[in-house]
Chain length 426, copies 2
């Protein structure tokens, strides 16, 4: 049911009803076995595979409606489900089934003088809210990770992907039902009314955490309205700092890779910082390479004295997440000024130092307050798969709960378990 057109429809009550059903169904899911949840994921994957034609048909309706609304080409591309994109969703669900179960582990049990034994048990959070934009694959990918970690999920996809998302949700639900669990653990908000997001993020008694997947505008809107904790990063203003102790054989490839490996990603660098004493050497090597790759350079005064072909960086450039072949360049006096620059202009996402000095490396790692800090490595490694987390639901620059790439563990929590033997407190 697309409730977009109904008059007098209470969006808030509708969203609360779906979230409440997810909460009720979450208890049985939380006590399901690892096998049950894996089997549900595999059945959902098979279902998507065998429903490929129907999913593509639903997607065609979305594409047609979106063309009528003059959506831009990039958006239409993100919306489109091809055979290979559907195959990737299927594969992702099968891989999720193979990951180790994050739930149930009891760790750190200690015997206390009072006689109790105390440890921590890892359990699902409960209900996860996923809010995303036009890519329908997020329905399967993020929904699958929630199920794997024993969490019910309330999905709120972009209105332009409505029919595609509904078709994929039906496959997830059939997987869930095949193992005897209630399909209520996967809820899709079936109204295209945009206020549904605002209604969703105030349900702090029904939803435990919100994971937004989409552009900065969406995330800012959610973060400012939400009464529920949000696992998020707003910007990815990442830096490489080339220290005066750097080995140039490491520095040059890292700078080039961190900027040009991919442009539209949050872990690409937006600003290059270079220590003054090596700036001649570094810039005379990387500037021609970057220009050859079509990267626009915006430099500080010092760097422009060496390379007048650079544009002049404005103050606002240092704050900018270009997500494009543009790089701002600043010559700094040394490590202190580099740290100060990153503290002021950075976004606490990912920053890397190139240095041969263990002391400088240690200071950078400790003092740069970013979710990932690196030594002699490209910022492009900031990624759940590269870190070996097995999956990634998002990257967080939050300070509490999860910081950096967030895998399945970020969808769980640890509670205390205490074993006594009739033990009482004196």
């Amino acid at each position: 049911m697309n409730t977009q057109v109904q008059q007098g429809f209470d969006v808030g009550a509708h969203v609360a009803k779906l979230a409440s059903a997810a909460r009720s169904a979450s208890h049985a899911l939380a006590r399901s076995s690892t096998d049950q949840r894996n089997q549900a994921l595999l059945t959902a994957a098979n279902s998507i595979e065998s429903d490929t034609v129907a999913i593509k048909k639903a997607n065609q309706i979305d594409l047609q409606l979106s063309r009528g609304k003059n959506l831009d080409d990039a958006m239409l591309d993100r919306l489109e489900l091809t055979d290979s994109r559907i195959a990737l969703m299927v594969e992702a669900l099968r891989q999720t089934a193979e990951l180790p179960d994050p739930v149930g582990e009891i760790s750190g049990i200690v015997q206390r003088p009072s006689g109790i034994r105390v440890g921590r048990m890892r359990v699902p959070l409960g209900v996860i809210g996923i809010i995303y934009e036009s890519r329908p694959n997020v329905t399967a990918d993020a929904g699958g990770l929630c199920l794997k970690s024993g969490n019910a999920v309330v999905l709120r996809g972009g209105s332009e992907a409505f029919n595609s998302n509904r078709a994929i949700v039906a496959c997830l639900q059939s997987g869930i039902e095949s193992v005897g669990l209630s399909s209520d653990v996967v809820q899709y908000i079936d109204t295209t009314d945009r206020s549904a997001i605002d209604e969703m993020v105030v349900l702090e008694k029904l939803i435990d955490v919100i994971v937004p997947r989409g552009g900065k505008g969406l995330i800012e809107r959610i973060a400012s309205h939400s009464k529920i904790p949000v696992i998020k990063h707003l910007h990815g203003v990442c830096h490489v700092y080339v220290d005066d102790t750097a080995d140039m054989e490491k520095a040059i490839p890292i700078v080039i890779n961190a900027k040009t490996n991919r442009y539209g990603v949050c872990n690409a660098i937006e600003t290059l910082l270079v220590a003054e004493s090596v700036s001649d050497d570094v810039l005379s090597r990387v500037v021609p390479m970057l220009i050859e790759k079509g990267v626009e350079l915006r430099g500080c005064e010092t760097s422009r004295r060496m390379f007048p072909e650079m544009l002049a960086a404005k103050e606002s450039d240092w704050y900018e997440e270009y997500l494009a072949p543009i790089l701002s360049v600043r010559v700094v006096s040394g490590l202190d000024q580099a740290i100060e620059h990153i503290r002021k202009y950075g976004s606490e996402h990912t920053d890397s130092i190139v240095t041969e000095s263990i002391n400088r490396a240690q200071r950078f790692l400790r003092e740069v307050d970013s979710s990932s800090v690196m030594v002699n490595a490209s910022t492009r490694f900031a990624d759940g798969f590269e870190y070996g987390l097995g999956a990634e639901i998002g990257i967080s620059t939050n300070k509490l709960h999860a910081r950096g790439p967030v895998g399945l563990e970020g969808l769980t929590m640890q509670k205390f378990v205490v074993y006594g033997d009739g033990t009482i407190r004196e």
Copy 2:
């Protein structure tokens, strides 16, 4: 400066200025050595010890002003600083100095196929906001834990303890200065204007987490206004459930201890749940013992048929945190109904099952969604010291970051550290 009386004073700007100074000073604190921070704590302890007379004098002013405002006796008692209470503050700071440093540990380093090594480094959160009521010892206790964990702290104590708190803060600051760090890392909000709390909890760029210490009213007010994550529990509606598989030799002492060991604490039980088939046995033993200790009993219909001397429990009783010698009693059909009751009426604080069945124990531990779940132990053990955390800044029923008693680790976070050797991403 007590700014209470100034006209046209901008509380918001003042609070932001203090928090901003704490943020700026926090960076140097975060990179201070373990020795430096411990030495600062020991010097602060000595300073409180040698300033005992002056602190008591400041406290006398607070007591006098409060008596003029007709504060009740309980509040005056909490406010009063005696020699022994001051000695306890000194001792707590010395013990905090002796705890292991939670900061700097790098754990879980793995080598990835790409060539990078990835691990996590434990670092301070940055700036902690402590909001508390009339007990001046929180200034030293909570302030000390923040410093120990490398965090700057913004303290906002009750207006009635203004002079006492200022005197203690001066001692903390002198400890900090004695090791060459800026005393700006300990800020005390020196206005008694109550709106200072509302102004403080919206400074999400300057303060990383709020820890409230006080009554339900204070915590609810903070939780509803805060844009900063709050480490908190609102209620402590704790339960003991005596299963039909229970050993009575364990059940009876646990019930009595969990209710009567102390009444005014959050980890005392408010409701006793008993499986029907053993209810006769359990209640005929515990009811006389509880009545003898002066506990008022409020029972469900079934339990009142056995013990008509119980008052009738109203629906609202099951939600109630009495913090008093009152206990509500309900006979349930078995484990399922007990779990359902706790889910509906509990506060996710601490709940305990008494059972000899490993299967029942396992189900209770897994399915009861509380921050501490226990088997055959008194709920009174839910406490950072009893758990071996070395200290307790509070108890959390949050699902993210920290759940249950929160020690020094809860004032830190883990960020990712990546080591390469000129490593780039293909």
